[in-house]
């Protein structure tokens, strides 16, 4: 029963994928989109079913399908594990997935390759389910790479534009760098535990099996590299902003809500290993904090609506890693969920705006959309309030908990994270003001076409806005349902901080910080009616920020160019030299032949002379050598 349900859960999106690949072109657009949506909705239903089941039984479900490969002295099976963590992830992946599918039916309606779009989205959901339900690292890796592939396909969905293809390629390769880390991590764990199965490793750790902590640290560090590739952390984050080349629903689904949280999922999955290696945890926390700050800085001055959201995603992911690094896995998970709600809402809202603006993404050409797009504006506002950390909205609770943990563990990290949060409030409201307030700055033709999006687009927005509002209550401070729910996946219980005056003080500080950020944005963009200048007018530090600290350029100069240079050098010189050497051997033979030809000068006298000398030498050798 469970096996077949699981298979349905897995294969429903895959069936949708196959249908859309093979028949998508023949059926009408709506059918294609509807089937894609229904496929994901089925998975969502099954996930809900599992959720209720596990809530009552509290027992993880382990399903082994068949034997996959043999490594050294242990087997790796095609098996799946449904526990609290994976079901939680399943719920919001398929749930938000369903919403975004609905949204896409309308959003992508005019695209000629609509069926392919849904095929890829379904494939993505399939791989994402594989990723979260896999019971060992290798199955997880299938999903891990699979979602990377779908990300590649969807970023480069408009394949006629080679810049988009470049972005897709970049995303895939950056991810692959992380994947190599992941692989090495798998090897290390396999070597240490003779297994790559989560439950086996967990049992081994729980039973106190002694492992070489040095190697374990190496392994967890490699896994962290893998996570930082997928979840866009320093130094591998640059692909995510570029990934905005894909259609907006893709940005919402893959590059905000689900795929990029895979790294957090993986680290949470293996929390018991990271707990054993505090040094690596420290690295994770520091990297997370720095990422959140750097990304927030860059987001301050971006003018592309999706780029701002992308950097905000990187920044929020940084906060999650900070929480992970501090050992507060459940808080990271909490933030993942709330972030999925409001960031999906923001992306979809921006998609709605872009849809209305006919593809225009530059905020400098927007403004005043509030009047034209009421629903979009309200939902966008709610999500913005949520991400800025205004109380009662979802983001407030999760972000506040992260800051609180940081405050207790390490004050410096707390300062960095708080700074990032203040900046978040600022740039998000900057985005809101520039887009929805004041006068419209686009062309007349665009103004003429401005309209509220159809209900298929607004419906997901409303649902997500509601979730962004109430989502925070799943982990209300002091009475956290989430913490209770997730307890079974940890070995070591984290001591909860009591709700005391410090808590309220920190909450107050955070809210005040957010309000300061909002206030600055208000004074700049509403009071002073500023509009960011053209690209070439930007100077000083903001130019550095606008150009994203020149990280792409630095990578280009430090890594990509040298590789190309080595490639050219190898191709032009080493290859030639090697080839020349081999040909040289032939040439030496040839030359000896030519020289030998000169010896064969045809003069019999000379031959005789050499003959005599040779004979004499042989005789001398035979008789006189001893």
């Amino acid at each position: 029963m469970e096996t077949s349900l699981l298979l349905f859960l897995l294969l429903a999106p895959f069936a949708g994928f196959l249908f859309n690949v093979f028949f998508g072109k023949k059926v009408s657009r709506n059918v294609s989109g509807t089937i894609g949506t229904i496929a994901v909705a089925i998975s969502f239903g099954i996930a809900l079913n599992f959720f209720f089941q596990i809530n009552s039984t509290k027992k993880p479900i382990l399903i082994e399908l068949f034997h996959w490969m043999t490594l050294g002295n242990f087997n790796v099976g095609f098996s799946f594990l449904l526990d609290q963590l994976s079901i939680l992830w399943l719920l919001f992946v398929t749930g938000i997935g369903t919403l975004i599918h609905i949204y896409s039916i309308s959003y992508m309606h005019d695209d000629e390759n609509l069926h392919k779009f849904f095929a890829y989205l379904n494939l993505f959901i399939f791989f994402m389910i594989t990723l979260v339900t896999g019971s060992n690292l290798l199955i997880m890796f299938i999903g891990w790479e699979g979602v990377g592939l779908c990300s590649y396909l969807l970023i480069g969905f408009w394949y006629k534009n080679q810049e988009y293809n470049d972005a897709a390629k970049k995303a895939f390769i950056m991810n692959r760098i992380g994947d190599l880390g992941f692989l090495i991590g798998i090897f290390t764990l396999g070597y240490l535990f003779s297994s790559v199965d989560f439950t086996t490793i967990k049992t081994a750790v729980a039973s106190g099996q002694t492992v070489d902590l040095g190697w374990l640290g190496f392994g967890t560090f490699c896994l962290f590299i893998g996570a930082s590739g997928k979840s866009a952390q320093i130094p591998l984050y640059t692909w995510l902003p570029d990934a905005m080349a894909g259609p907006t629903p893709v940005s919402a689904l893959i590059h905000a809500a689900t795929m990029v949280t895979a790294g957090i999922f993986m680290i949470t999955r293996l929390n018991f290993l990271f707990d054993l290696t505090p040094n690596i945890q420290m690295i994770i926390a520091v990297i997370g904090a720095i990422t959140s700050l750097v990304a927030a800085f860059i987001a301050l001055v971006q003018n592309d609506i999706k780029k701002v959201l992308a950097y905000s995603t990187v920044s929020q992911l940084g906060l999650m890693f900070l929480a992970l690094g501090l050992g507060a896995y459940e808080i990271a998970v909490f933030h993942v969920i709330t972030h999925a709600f409001f960031k999906a809402c923001l992306f979809l809202g921006s998609g709605s705006v872009i849809h209305a603006m006919h593809g225009e993404q530059d905020m400098r050409k927007m403004g005043g959309l509030r009047k034209y797009m009421k629903v979009t504006y309200i939902t966008f506002l709610i999500a913005t309030l949520a991400i800025s950390g205004i109380p009662i909205f979802a983001g407030f609770f999760s972000k506040d908990e992260i800051l609180m943990v940081a405050f207790h563990e390490n004050k410096a990290l707390w300062v960095i994270a708080s700074l990032a949060s203040i900046m978040t409030a600022f740039y998000m409201f900057r985005l809101l003001y520039l887009t929805f307030f004041k006068e419209f700055r686009g062309t007349d033709e665009q103004r003429h076409h401005l309209h509220e999006s159809p209900s298929l687009i607004t419906f997901p927005l409303i649902v997500l806005a509601i979730l962004s509002t109430v989502g925070g209550f799943i982990s209300f401070p002091g009475h956290s349902w989430l913490n209770e729910y997730l307890k079974p996946i940890f070995i070591r219980a984290r001591e909860e901080h009591h709700v005391d005056t410090t808590t309220f003080m920190l909450m107050g500080v955070a809210v005040v910080g957010a309000l300061i950020g909002i206030g600055i944005a208000y004074s700049n963009y509403i009071k002073k009616s500023q509009v960011p200048g053209a690209d070439n007018e930007i100077t000083g530090f903001s130019k550095v920020l606008y150009n994203k600290f020149y990280v792409d350029e630095i990578y280009m100069a430090v890594i990509v160019r040298p590789i190309y240079a080595i490639a050219s050098f190898s191709k032009n010189f080493i290859e030639t030299a090697l080839s020349g050497f081999i040909f040289g051997l032939g040439k030496v033979t040839n030359m000896v032949g030519t020289q030998g030809r000169v010896l064969q000068n045809g003069s019999v006298g000379f031959y005789l002379f050499v003959f005599v000398i040779g004979t004499a030498s042989i005789i001398a050798y035979l008789f006189l050598a001893q």
Binding site: T70, L71, I142, K169, E575, I582
Partner: protein, 479 residues
């Protein structure tokens, strides 16, 4: 029935094809290659049922040479790979018309005959004969039916011939030295030779030269790219799909068992050299302007990893190597076939002259995409299983080497996707590109099916080869 039946079928097929007219040659060749495939499947059943399918007969008394043909799981896997690829390769050539096609197809079957013989031989001398015999047909195939300027083609092909031939002579020297000691060419007798590490080193080196040139490993690879580019698609497929597996197989079958001490003593040098080839091949592939050359260098990178896995002499390494040999065999044949499909329509190999194919032929694009993904070892494809085990075996020996070798998954993605982007994506090309026809599609679908099926369920192959490889490890570790 023993394994010699398979050889007889292939030889008879070659003769029959040669005697038939140009019109029917391709069909007859296909028929015989399918028959050979059927026979090898039947032999596999016999082998699995535990029957004796080996053959051993005295051939020459002085020196003592046997006609010894034998098959274990590893051999069966390689023979099946060969006989399964042959019909595909022959069928894939139906889209081209070759002058004097009876000679062409007869040579193909003859080459397959020699290669299957190489896999099956259990006597060193017989093995050497088959090994060299396989070189002759490909020389003519590449020389007569190749592409491009005849002058430069001749240069490339003759270089290839002399180079590989010269390499093989060192192997012959090693064999003769071993014969001097043991008085027999039988593998089972040769491994009993009592040799010092120094002697083994020289024997190892003799084998190594032959194999390193054939595989090829850097820095012995310079013949490869040009020959792959100049040879007809069928020749390239035979070379890359099967012939280089011959050398990799021989490492496991001959080189390591005959000189285990040397292999252990100098393990890191040979693993390091192989892994260096991985990086080097990947990097040079980045700058290739010709699609076939790019695939050649990518092949260089992949086989470097396979060789590295072989030289680790761990069970994982050998198993991964065998799995990857099969996966790479299918994958590279598919990729070269895709390149051939493109060059059939564009009549050029230059990447810069391609682009925008995806708009015109979505089916071909999907197939090519899957092959590219298989080549970069995406999980779920057969290549992943092999590459994963290979890297795992490297990690057991040295994590550093594993990381260096692992960069293949990054660089591989880099050059393959770059190539895919430039060839397939982008704005519409003014040149017309027809989508795949039924024949082409069939070949592609079979190859993709094999890659995906075994990617998810490699158990049959793992079960087939593991006992033989454990046996091989035991022989290697006998001293």
């Amino acid at each position: 029935m023993d394994v010699s039946f398979l050889l007889i079928i292939l030889l008879v097929g070659a003769i029959a094809t040669f005697l038939s007219g140009d019109k029917w040659a391709s069909k007859i060749a296909l028929l015989f290659s399918l028959a050979a495939f059927g026979v090898s499947v039947y032999l596999l059943n016999l082998y699995n049922a535990g029957q004796n399918i080996n053959l051993i007969k005295q051939w020459v008394t002085i020196p003592k040479i046997y006609i010894a043909l034998g098959a274990d799981g590893l051999t069966m896997a390689m023979v099946l790979l060969t006989t399964a690829l042959t019909p595909l390769i022959i069928f894939s050539s139906f889209g081209n018309s070759y002058a004097k096609s009876k000679n062409f197809y007869a040579l193909i079957l003859f080459m397959v005959f020699a290669m299957v013989g190489t896999f099956l031989s259990a006597d060193g001398f017989l093995y050497y004969i088959f090994w060299e015999l396989s070189l002759i047909p490909i020389y003519f195939i590449a020389l007569i039916w190749g592409n491009g300027n005849p002058q430069s083609r001749k240069k490339a092909v003759v270089k290839f011939f002399i180079y590989t031939f010269a390499g093989s002579l060192f192997m012959l020297v090693s064999f003769i030295y071993l014969y001097q000691i043991t008085g027999s060419f039988l593998l089972s007798d040769l491994i009993r030779a009592q040799l010092s590490t120094q002697e083994q080193f020289w024997i190892f080196l003799g084998f190594f030269l032959a194999y390193a040139i054939k595989i090829p490993l850097i820095p012995f690879h310079t013949w490869q790219a040009k020959v792959y580019q100049k040879a007809p698609a069928v020749g390239t497929m035979l070379l890359s799909g099967i012939m280089l597996k011959m050398a990799l197989y021989s490492i496991i079958r001959w080189q390591l068992p005959l000189a285990p001490l040397a292999a252990k003593e100098y393990l890191y040098y040979f693993v390091g050299l192989s892994v260096a080839g991985v990086i080097y091949g990947s990097i040079v592939a980045l700058k290739q302007k010709d699609i076939k050359k790019l695939l050649a260098y990518s092949s260089l990178a992949h086989v470097g990893l396979i060789a590295a896995g072989c030289y680790t002499m761990t069970l994982d390494g050998l198993r991964g190597a065998t799995l990857q040999m099969i996966a790479h065999g299918f994958g590279v044949v598919g990729l070269f076939f895709a390149a051939e499909i493109i060059s059939r329509r564009y009549t050029t190999g230059k990447i810069s002259e391609m682009g925008g194919i995806r708009i015109q032929s979505p089916k071909f694009t999907s197939m090519f995409m899957i092959l590219v993904l298989a080549s970069v070892a995406l999980p779920g494809t057969f290549n992943f299983v092999g590459e994963f085990e290979l890297l795992y075996s490297l990690a057991q020996k040295s994590v550093t080497i594993c990381i260096i070798g692992g960069t293949t998954i990054i660089l591989g993605a880099f050059y393959m996707l770059r190539m895919f982007q430039k060839v397939m994506l982008g704005e519409k090309n003014e040149k017309f590109f027809a989508d795949v026809n039924f024949n082409e599609g069939l070949v592609m679908v079979i190859i993709i099916g094999v890659l995906l099926f075994f990617g998810l369920y490699p158990k049959p192959i793992i079960d087939l080869i593991t006992p033989s490889l454990e046996e091989a490890i035991k022989v290697i570790n006998r001293i």
